[in-house]
């Protein structure tokens, strides 16, 4: 029989992984058998090397292998939100929006400061027409990582295109620029909004 602490860990691991899909995972059970011995935990160095290898698989578009590698890593190291997030990204690209929303929500539950997962959530909420939740997700991403250019840009697009809040859009686009986003087209959007809505302000930081 596993110790009580091991059981708690296994149950927690199961709920985190289940967040990456509303469907059962592709190969085999999520959790090892309760009667089987608990898997041995690889060292932190091994985990870093395995993560790097899995990331390389993702980069080279060997998605099935990458998914298997990240799943193994997430099972062995449930506290590594990077493996879980990449697992969710892979599944979000392959499955429907509702499942992806659920997956990233679980990833954020595992790590509330995971700005990449929060940004994904923002985009998915926007796509489903839930602009309020989209705004909240982008803002949480920026609270966790203020210089996260993608979330700044996405917040600007949300205000600009979907919520018709040009003043806030300009502030967010400026935040994108201040975060290192160097696209001239975004600079053009800022000028265009300022010209059209008279939103020129002295503020140059991120949207409040």
């Amino acid at each position: 029989m596993p110790h009580r602490a091991e059981l708690v860990l296994l149950i927690a691991l199961g709920s985190v992984l289940a967040g990456c899909s509303t469907q059962p995972l592709r190969s085999g059970p999520i959790l090892p058998s309760m009667t089987a011995p608990a898997p041995s935990m690889p060292s932190a160095e091994d985990a870093a090397a395995a993560f790097k290898a899995a990331l390389e698989l993702m980069k080279t578009q060997r998605f099935d292998e990458a998914e298997a590698a990240f799943r193994a890593l997430a099972e062995a190291h449930p506290s590594l939100s990077g493996a879980l997030t990449n697992l969710c990204i892979l599944r979000a690209q392959a499955r429907d929006r509702d499942a992806a929303l659920h997956s990233f929500s679980r990833a954020v539950d595992a790590n509330p400061d995971n700005a990449v997962a929060l940004n994904w959530l923002g985009v998915l909420y926007r796509e489903s027409g839930d602009y309020l939740r989209a705004e909240q997700a982008y803002r949480r991403a920026l609270a966790a990582q203020p210089q996260y250019a993608s979330a700044q840009l996405n917040l600007g697009i949300l205000y600009d295109v979907y919520l018709q809040r040009p003043h806030d859009a300009v502030l967010a686009y400026r935040g994108y620029r201040d975060a290192g986003g160097a696209d001239l087209i975004v600079e053009a959007w800022i000028r265009e909004l300022e010209a059209r809505h008279g939103t020129r302000t002295a503020h140059s930081g991120a949207a409040p």
Binding site: G82, S150, V161
Partner: protein, 144 residues
């Protein structure tokens, strides 16, 4: 003036007769606009660059909309359309480059109607690159 004259020449059948007239008129207009763009005044340069881009874009569009000869079967129509697309593509590319040249002037703080319209044209022509689309990371590089 030369630009307007060029765009008035419709591509009609037989295209081998109308196309050279249109191309010749376009070339004359482009020469005049290029000379204007070289004046060195921001307003004139950006306006001329915008017009150059529009000339290229309209020529490309005219080719795509050109009337098809009668009597072609389905396969021949498809091949004819592909041929027109191939001919139009370099003009569209030139248009995009000219619009981008105007957009790049924002780096020097130049913002006027011509730059604004160039940015809008790029959004239409290359939405994947210049459209207002959200960005999301396709990988999470940190293990933690």
């Amino acid at each position: 003036m030369a630009a307007r004259e060029a765009t008035r020449i419709a591509l009609s059948l037989p295209i081998e007769r109308s196309l050279p007239r249109r191309v010749e008129a376009t070339r004359a207009a482009l020469d005049a606009l290029t000379a204007a763009a070289d004046y060195g005044f921001a307003e004139i340069t950006t306006a001329a660059t915008y017009e150059i881009a529009v000339m290229y874009r309209e020529l490309g569009g005219a080719l795509l909309r050109a009337p098809r000869p009668r009597g072609l079967d389905a396969l021949e129509q498809e091949q004819y359309a592909l041929l027109l697309e191939e001919q139009a593509f370099p003009f569209e590319e030139s248009a995009i480059k000219a619009f981008e040249a105007n957009l790049a002037r924002l780096d020097q703080g130049i913002w006027n109607e011509s730059v604004q319209r160039s940015a809008a044209a790029l959004t239409e022509m290359v939405p994947a690159r210049y459209g207002k689309h959200e960005r999301r990371d396709l990988r999470y590089a940190s293990p933690g």
